[in-house]
Symmetry: C2
Subunit: 297 residues, 2 copies
């Protein structure tokens, strides 16, 4: 497979580190012929996220950037609003907990308390809250050249990552024009995008001129998270769900899926796309990437 050029890697503010010892482990087993084999598998750890005194959720994560994961999760669930002032984010590796502290008790904690009194658990409210934040949301106007989209996909596919090494992992990349900026990976369903959201919150990064790329499916939850982040364009190499498309249209998100080699499908917000590239000029994806991508779930 063609490797990333230093130029590709230099693009990143945060690139994956497939060599980090904490993120992978070698496990012994046997292959189809009974021959002993050593397989590199990704780590997976529980991380319990607290909002002030309240336990919110236990996420299964690969374990890097726990503070970004906690911040991004709470923000993307609508549990942290733009007005909430975060006074601290404390990660305890031994207890496997992250506590996010705010200046005042958040409105979500009230909701949680109310909900708790009525039904005894707030899990069911989480989704409702996510939709709640979206009423009247208008995503900023923006445009993306297909030449930039193709360049992004090629750079990301060439970037050394756990996804390419071990598979069985998700990748989400925050991009600007044809430049990938922050590439997060995780074994958990939506942790990768939450870590990107946490980084944006922590660094106060502008969302209006960004593009979000994900290896994962374009489900309602992925679309809602992207909208919460204020990013107007979401691209994926994977497929769509009907509700994901519906919500994208509702909030005016540009939704690009099945991005492989020169092919892609846009099912919402096509007006933001400028088709300046000739698909015929785009090289096919190499086999290795296609194979690895089958390893995800």
């Amino acid at each position: 497979m063609q490797l990333a050029t230093s130029r590709d890697i230099d693009d990143y503010l945060i690139a994956p580190d497939p060599t980090a010892a904490r993120l992978q482990r070698v496990v012994s087993g046997r292959d189809q012929a009974g021959v002993p084999v050593e397989v590199q598998v990704v780590e997976e750890r529980p991380l319990t996220i607290f909002l002030n005194a309240r336990e919110i959720v236990t996420a299964m994560t690969i374990g890097d950037y726990p503070e970004y994961l906690a911040l991004g999760f709470l923000r993307n669930q609508g549990m942290l609003s733009r007005t909430d002032r975060v006074t601290g984010v404390d990660f305890d590796e031994e207890l496997e907990t992250v506590v996010v502290r705010t200046a005042q008790e958040t409105d979500h904690e009230e909701k949680l308390a109310k909900k708790t009194r009525t039904s005894g658990c707030a899990v069911g409210t989480v989704f409702g809250d996510m939709m709640e934040g979206l009423e009247g949301l208008v995503l900023p106007e923006a445009s993306l050249r297909t030449s930039e989209l193709y360049t992004l996909a090629q750079k990301i596919n060439r970037t050394p990552s756990l996804y390419l090494e071990a598979g069985a992992i998700h990748g989400t990349v925050l991009c600007q024009g044809d430049r990938p900026l922050v590439y997060m990976e995780d074994v958990g369903r939506h942790n990768a995008v939450d870590k990107v959201a946490g980084w944006m919150l922590d660094t106060g990064t502008e969302a209006a001129d960004k593009v979000l790329y994900t290896t994962g499916r374009l489900t309602s939850e992925m679309v809602i998270k992207t909208a919460h982040m204020g990013i107007p364009i979401l691209a994926s190499r994977s497929g769509f769900t009907a509700w994901g498309v519906e919500i994208a249209e509702q909030v005016g998100l540009t939704l690009i899926g099945r991005l492989r080699g020169h092919r892609f499908t846009c099912l919402s917000g096509d007006h933001r796309l400028i088709r300046d590239a000739d698909p015929a000029d785009v090289p096919q994806e190499d086999k290795k990437h296609r194979r690895k991508s089958a390893d995800k779930d």
Copy 2:
């Protein structure tokens, strides 16, 4: 692609129905060249699961077999024990709810109430409870011939499914010997396996002589669910996580991953495998399946 023979389909007690109108929708969009296209995408709906009077979770599901999903979810989370007597499972399509009723209040509801008073939300306990049920669990002895394993994979790959048609979906198949019995699909992370568990609970099906096949990654949660179901062998075309392997060894589960064509890797419980097939005799997977499998997440 070689289609399923009627013999393959006849094997199933429940086979996927990719033609069911409720499960897919045609959405219009544009391709890379700006040409209008119509794409078939899978549905995705919220389903809120109640245990007696308690709201437990809102799952995102494709929408088929909601009763099995609710039963299986509660069982696999350890919220329904073997001793709990289920007196009713009521699905309300309009409200998008399923209520599972038991003769007595379950021990989980007590736990939930206690937990609720302390932390205000029970989400964080869910995972703890799942592990809880596993102490001292011993999975039954059993054996699987690799000839049966290869036959299963070929039958399943040839079975018409949403996975082959639209991608962006998970499949889980309950199998016995070389015969696939119940093939559930869902867009949600673990719904497919929960629907199988619900079917087993509802039909009182024996687990000791079964094999579970999944298109999804072998994460800790997938391994824990399989153990809760009492199934001794779990096989997947996808990869592993370190914790998934650890828990499989702890409970004595046979864990087979990266099952593609003649290749597979066994990282736990290899003693249950009888290698009676010559891998060289196993045909390569066809391209179509490999491509579609990349659509999952």
